[in-house]
Symmetry: C3
Subunit: 109 residues, 3 copies
């Protein structure tokens, strides 16, 4: 048994929890602030069998890896809005910091 602690972006948490649930991994979500990543992150605790760790890590990687996202920039306030042509810009989103911890005992009551 291992305990995976994953610090991820809030916006990735729903799709990651869904993907983990589909494979029957049970997750507990802790509210967190600041930290390894930007503001607005979430810490997930995932208990899993030692031989399932690689699979769970693969799911975490797939759902959270750093990636570029096109966003429409806000048009500049007070400028000449007529002549302003907003061009989408790339920002980096996602990312995960993951610890796999050894577990002495795992129990369910």
């Amino acid at each position: 048994m291992k305990l995976i602690i994953a610090v991820i972006e809030d916006k990735d948490s729903h799709r990651l929890i869904d993907a983990l649930s589909e494979k029957e991994y049970k997750t507990t979500k802790l509210s967190t602030t600041g930290g390894f990543l930007k503001e607005g992150n979430t810490t997930l605790m995932i208990g899993c069998n030692s031989d399932a760790v690689d699979d769970a890590l693969e799911i975490i990687k797939n759902k959270t890896s750093k990636r570029e996202q096109m966003v429409a920039p806000i048009s500049p306030m007070g400028g000449n809005a007529d002549s302003y042509i907003p061009r989408p810009i790339n920002i980096e989103v996602g990312g995960a910091t993951v610890f796999v911890l050894p577990v002495d005992q795992f129990l369910q009551f």
Copy 2:
């Protein structure tokens, strides 16, 4: 030294923390959502000496084990309330998911 991480139902947290305090176990409560159990759970971190782990686990088991609870059902809305005889029903409550983690160093400043 071990670190016990217990994910329990919110409703069991007060009585468990009380029971652990009586035996001088120190607990830290993290707010959690979703997870190993139903919505509305709490994660407790309990630091304890290696030779006290079994005793602490026994207390956790006693205060959180899954059990049946009789609840009065809500009477059906819009139905003929006069002829409706509410019968208490059994629901399952409680439960705990517990990890005992090894600790390299324990310090208090």
Copy 3:
């Protein structure tokens, strides 16, 4: 790699996180209640290389150690305020409970 879990007082968390950031330690802050210390504490998770643990612990100790603080007492309500001379009193603040956990794997995606 080690995972340091530090339960500290809320009021010490900002200056500790700042001090850890200056040395490039990355921290994640969990909201916690009750616990090892008085009400109003914070749990920090700090990932660091095994050979940096002592340095990180030194920073935690410096920023959180129990210490006396002079506070002006509230003047007694309904008493004869004219004849009441408030004298600052010493209260104990700070303190940290720290676990250093072994880590099997550390990954960043």
